[in-house]
Amino acid sequence: MCLGVPGRIVGIAEEQGLRMGEIDFGGVCRKVCLAYVPEAQVDDYVVVHAGFAISIVDADEAERTLELIGEIEAELGPGEDES
């Protein structure tokens, strides 16, 4: 469910006892609670849902996923041109 959007941590500060991050979503910034990703650091990408980071994006896994798909694209050979 759950709209979750990845964004980059550009700053970290504490507010009311909670670890909060300034997250850049690509031209739009928002404060997000980092309490559930205590290991997250500036420049990490996190998945944000309802104002909270719920995971740190694993760039290696993302790469691996895209590589797998790249292999499928290669297997299928040169496709038809864009219509």
């Binding site: 469910m1 759950c2 709209l3 979750g4 959007v5 990845p6 980059r8 009311q16 006892g17 909670l18 979503f25 690509g26 609670c33 309490a35 559930y36 990703v37 205590p38 990408y45 998945v47 849902h49 309802a50 104002g51 909270f52 719920i54 995971s55 994006v57 694993d58 760039a59 896994e61 993302a62 691996r64 996923t65 895209l66 797998l68 798909i69 790249g70 499928i72 694209e73 297997e75 299928l76 496709g79």
Partner: protein
């Protein structure tokens, strides 16, 4: 946007569609559980790219749609109490209760505000110390930890003017209910990637072992969904039944431990009636004893009679993937986004609204 655009690549989507077409040998019915996934599928027309053999059906993964009508009535009742500020996610505001929705309550003078996060509701409570702030907590296990933190903070800060209506629900009981129904046609599942980001994937193993259905934890972008279908199909064609993780860039096997810990501290599982379905045991989350002071229903001493759905509304069958929206006789006629009869027509993640807005009315849609 990084980690988004790459997973919307059209060439990759087409390649995956071709690949799926090349490995399928017979008809299969796959259900995607999450409303956000339904939204992407309908927006991008992904099901049109799949071979005819694959029927993608939509599950009850729209927490807005399945929130029991009684809870909406309670939220409206609380919002109408003098001095109350009711904070809610935007998409809940138009879901009809038995006599109108939260928008109507607002029109009649209630202070109803849209928030993006439970922490925003908490901030309102900190600012408006003379008012009672109530947060309508809707959502699956993805959202539960966000509510949990707001309640935990309120307790820590000694706040006395904040409470929540906990309408959170859990996914696994819904999957079990679908699988145990005698009319079930679903043979494989695409599980909700953000729910699993929080809960991990282990709770699906017993379901897979008992029911012998493949479950692929899947993300929300077009590439994710196509890859999830490809992985599920491979299992079905090969006669396997396992839990697989397509969304590994966000989902770890044990999920988010800190979030799960706080869910367990703030909430307890409770039986919950799902709108359009029956009561599913242990499928809801209620506030635990330790945090019961933050339970709005308790604080406002609300008790309302059970509410009934209009007879014509077949939301339950849609939510269970038994019919597609165009097969409901009310779809597009008595029931439209402007005059919704049931919740899947109101929330834009609801299958009925998604189909209506995408213009899918025909018999072809009902396959």
């Amino acid at each position: 946007m990084k980690f988004v655009d790459e997973f919307r690549d059209a060439a990759a989507v087409r390649a995956l569609a071709d690949h799926i077409g090349s490995i399928v040998t017979r008809p299969w019915t796959i259900m995607e559980v999450c409303g956000g996934q339904t939204h992407t599928i309908v927006r991008c027309g992904l099901d049109e790219l799949l071979p005819r053999e694959i029927a993608l059906v939509h599950g009850p993964g729209c927490p807005v749609c399945v929130t029991p009508i009684e809870m909406i009535d309670m939220a409206i009742e609380i919002a109408r109490r003098p001095g109350v500020i009711l904070c809610s996610f935007g998409d809940m505001l138009r879901v009809p209760g038995s006599k109108g929705d939260l928008f109507d309550a607002r029109a009649a003078g209630a202070d109803v505000r849209i928030v993006y996060s439970p922490l925003d509701a908490l901030a309102v409570a900190r600012r408006e110390t003379e008012r009672e702030v109530v947060f309508f907590a809707v959502g699956f296990e993805t959202t539960a930890p966000t509510t949990a933190m707001a309640v935990h903070q309120a307790a820590r800060l000694g706040m006395t003017n904040f409470s929540v209506i906990s309408a959170h629900v859990r996914v696994p009981p819904a999957i079990e209910a679908i699988l145990s129904s005698p009319s079930n046609r679903v043979q494989g599942f695409l599980a909700a990637g953000h729910v699993c980001t929080v809960m991990g994937i282990d709770e699906y193993r017993p379901i897979v072992e008992r029911c012998r259905v493949p479950i692929v934890v899947t993300g929300f972008e077009p590439v994710d969904l196509m890859q999830g279908v490809a992985m599920c199909l491979a299992q079905l064609e090969e006669g396997r039944a396992e839990v697989e993780n397509q969304y590994a860039r966000s989902v770890r096997a044990d999920g988010n431990r800190e979030a799960r810990r706080l869910i367990e501290e703030v909430f307890v599982p409770a039986d919950r009636r799902w709108r359009g379905m029956e009561t599913l045991p242990q499928s809801g989350l209620a506030l635990s004893r330790r945090y019961r002071d933050f339970d709005a229903i308790r604080r406002f001493a609300i008790a309302l009679p059970d509410a009934d759905e209009p007879q014509e509304c077949r939301a339950g069958e849609v939510l269970r993937g038994l019919i597609k929206p165009p097969q409901c006789p009310a779809f597009g006629k008595a029931c439209t986004p402007e005059r919704p009869m049931g919740a899947p027509m109101v929330s834009s993640e609801g299958a009925c609204a998604a189909y209506f807005r995408a213009g899918r009315f025909g018999a072809a849609e009902a396959r």
